[in-house]
């Protein structure tokens, strides 16, 4: 179901490709480029991995359609999603952009009142095109940048893989974004939005829609303390994220806890055992003395972790100087406000000690506690890489300062393996949006892309696609029991019974599951004993 519209042909709905029956919608890329430009660029090029087209414009079309198909096959929209797209000069180093064209609220099917939804998601929930004649998503990509147009995620050096950028930016347009001005905390026209509904500050325990502007402004920079509170993301976190979060722990003095760290591209990786040692400030004798840009006195770091200031020379040089002075490890303290601390780029194969980077604030905390200071650099295997340490939810990217880049509308950079919707579009991404590689589709589920219209918002609904028949049936057997919705909502009696069927491997285990569930329902007054006997009788005959 490939579709590509010429902008001029929209009125006549001329399609290159045939849309499917209207029961399922499509993601339609509308070509807004003039002849010989952008998608229509006739420049001859050789086919590249997975992309058979032989003009630059053709290859651009193919990558966009490839990305649209990934989203379409996953989201299965009920209405057509129209994306107006162009390639044009966007300025140096700007690759591309996308976003919703309109936002809607209080439409039929909206799961939350007075809450803005992105156009495409609103159409999905309403089951109709709420704004006929409008595009749903606008996308502009650079006609100047040297993109890689293959589909194998194997871009050569000096290029950027277009496909994950398209997937990422379309993801924002489909709903993976708030409408908040994060620098001020203000909402779009004073109204809540669906993304903010599930954005939870684990310190204040408030979601973003429940906050004042000042609270949102503060939360936006509450680094590693803002998480996603939807059930589907967090249900799938264990299947996606790897165990182990790099950290710096203050062993002494007690009470300072662990700090987030940025990792180096050089030197050995941190381990679960880690490196623990007394910590002291580096002093190279040349002002500013703490940057370790000059060789350090011989033996001044022996058996110690050296605390080094960022700036004035390469990270690798600082660490090498510390290593030459006998240090067991290095903590580089940032010189600008940036949290979580970014990584440290560099190359030096002779470096054999671990090093990390901490934020300016955390570094100042270390410097204020130098007496008998003892640190440990390690991988904390007690936590999944990307979960918060308070409520153990998947984190979104609170960054400090917030103006350092897009923040809350992304997963946190601590997530590993890297996720499509992190602020950094990493080179190791696959094209998957699903578990076990990625949590993006899970977040889309929380937002409402798979609504079952059971009155429980999908981000709170553990049973998407509920059996909403009025009575309980097991197979064709009528259990003569009302199929009520169980608290806290989202799952019916039939959903629970279906769960027993799907998650047991033999009939005895299945019957044990049904007996247990129905006993609880009788206890909690959801059904009568007579209902229970009827359900058990039907279940006993369910031997498929």
């Amino acid at each position: 179901m490939r579709r590509f519209l010429l902008a001029a042909a929209i009125a006549a709905t001329t399609l290159l490709g045939t849309p499917a029956a209207m029961a399922q919608g499509s993601i339609i890329i509308v070509n807004g480029d003039a002849p010989n430009e952008g998608f229509n660029d006739p420049t001859p090029v050789a086919p590249v991995a997975g992309n058979p087209f032989t003009t630059r414009g053709g290859q651009r079309q193919f990558v966009f359609l490839f990305g649209a198909d990934i989203w379409e096959s996953r989201l299965q929209p009920t209405n057509d999603i129209r994306v107006t797209a162009r390639f044009e000069p966007l300025g140096p180093n700007v690759l591309g952009s996308a976003g919703a064209v309109t936002a809607s609220r209080n439409f039929p099917g909206a799961e939350y009142p007075d809450t803005w939804y992105h156009a495409a998601l609103a159409d999905r929930l309403a089951g109709t095109d709420l704004v006929p004649g409008f595009f749903d998503i606008r996308a502009l990509f650079s006609s100047d940048f040297n993109f890689y147009y293959g589909t194998d995620n194997n871009e050569p050096p000096g290029t950027v893989d277009l496909l994950p950028v398209v997937l990422h930016e379309l993801g924002h347009g489909l709903g993976f974004a708030n409408f908040v001005t994060e620098a001020t905390g203000s909402l779009l026209l004073g109204g809540a939005d669906i993304y903010s509904q599930y954005t939870l500050d684990v310190t204040t325990k408030k979601n973003w829609n429940s906050m004042t502007n000042a609270e949102r402004q503060a939360s936006a920079i509450n680094v590693r303390k803002v998480s996603w509170d939807g059930v589907h993301v967090n249900k799938n976190v264990p299947a996606v994220l790897h165990r182990g979060d790099p950290a710096l722990r203050v062993v002494n003095p007690g009470g300072l806890g662990s700090f987030a760290v940025g990792l180096a591209t050089f030197g050995p990786a941190l381990t679960a055992t880690g490196v623990a040692a007394p910590a002291v400030l580096a002093d190279d004798g040349v002002a500013p003395t703490g940057d370790a840009c000059e060789p350090l006195p011989a033996g001044s770091g022996t058996g110690k972790i050296l605390i080094v200031d960022r700036g004035l020379c390469a990270f690798a040089l600082k660490v090498k100087n510390a290593q030459d002075a006998g240090a067991k490890g290095v903590v580089v303290v940032d010189n600008v406000q940036a949290a979580p601390p970014p990584g440290m780029a560099g190359v030096d194969p002779t470096i054999v000690i671990p090093s990390v980077r901490v934020s300016l604030n955390d570094g100042n905390t270390l410097k204020a506690n130098l007496t008998d200071l003892r640190l440990k650099l390690f991988i904390d295997t007690g936590i999944l890489a990307g979960m918060d340490r308070v409520k153990r939810l998947m984190m979104v990217a609170a960054l400090n300062p917030v103006v350092a880049g897009s923040s809350i509308s992304h997963f946190d950079t601590a997530a590993f393996p890297n996720q499509l919707m992190e602020p950094a579009i990493n080179a190791d991404l696959t094209s998957s949006v699903d578990p076990p590689q990625d949590l993006t589709s899970s977040l889309m589920t929380d937002l409402g892309w798979f609504t079952d219209a059971d009155s429980t918002p999908d981000g709170r609904d553990a049973c998407i696609g509920s059996d909403l028949r009025p009575g309980v049936f097991i197979g064709t057997c009528n259990a003569n029991t009302n199929n009520i919705m169980l608290p806290p909502g989202g799952c019916t009696l039939s959903d629970e019974l279906n769960w027993c069927d799907a998650n047991t491997t033999n009939h005895d285990a299945y019957m044990q599951c049904v007996r247990s569930h129905t006993a609880n329902w009788v206890r909690d007054w959801f059904i009568t004993s007579t209902n229970r006997q009827s359900i058990l009788a039907c279940a006993a005959g369910n031997t498929d």
Partner: protein, 169 residues
Amino acid sequence: MKPASCSPRNWLILGFCALLGAPVTQAQEAKPNETRLPQQVIPTGEEDAKAEATPVTQAARSAVSAEAAETQRLEAELREMTSESDEGLVIEQQPDGSELVDLQGRFMSVAIATPNADGSYTVSCHTGEDAAGHAKHAHDIAAGTAPRAVKQDSAKSTTPTAPKALEEK
């Protein structure tokens, strides 16, 4: 034969090329003290006369001015795309009782490529007013014009002065 940058594809400076017939490669060799040109568009007239204009320097100014104007236009577009301001946005009541707001091309997310020392790129996604600033920073790094710090007392340094790594702002 005209230089490649005077080809029809390079439409920004096409007019300048046609008008003066001056190769851009020469035009770019402007006097070093004319550093204000990239910051402002200078029309022909008094300002040019004060600068002892020659055909070559005029050409340089025109070219740089055109580039600067285009850069400003692109930056303005980027700021508009990533704007999170709701000023001027209007809530429209729909017949079904729902409400709609046309975002006017705002609230878009922007992917920006920052070059690394090894020739690869770091790609990051930005929203809000800072996106344009980040794009400029990425461009400055690519152009080698990003500001670099200088050690206060380098006289005692035993390390030869070396180019700062890109990661060190």
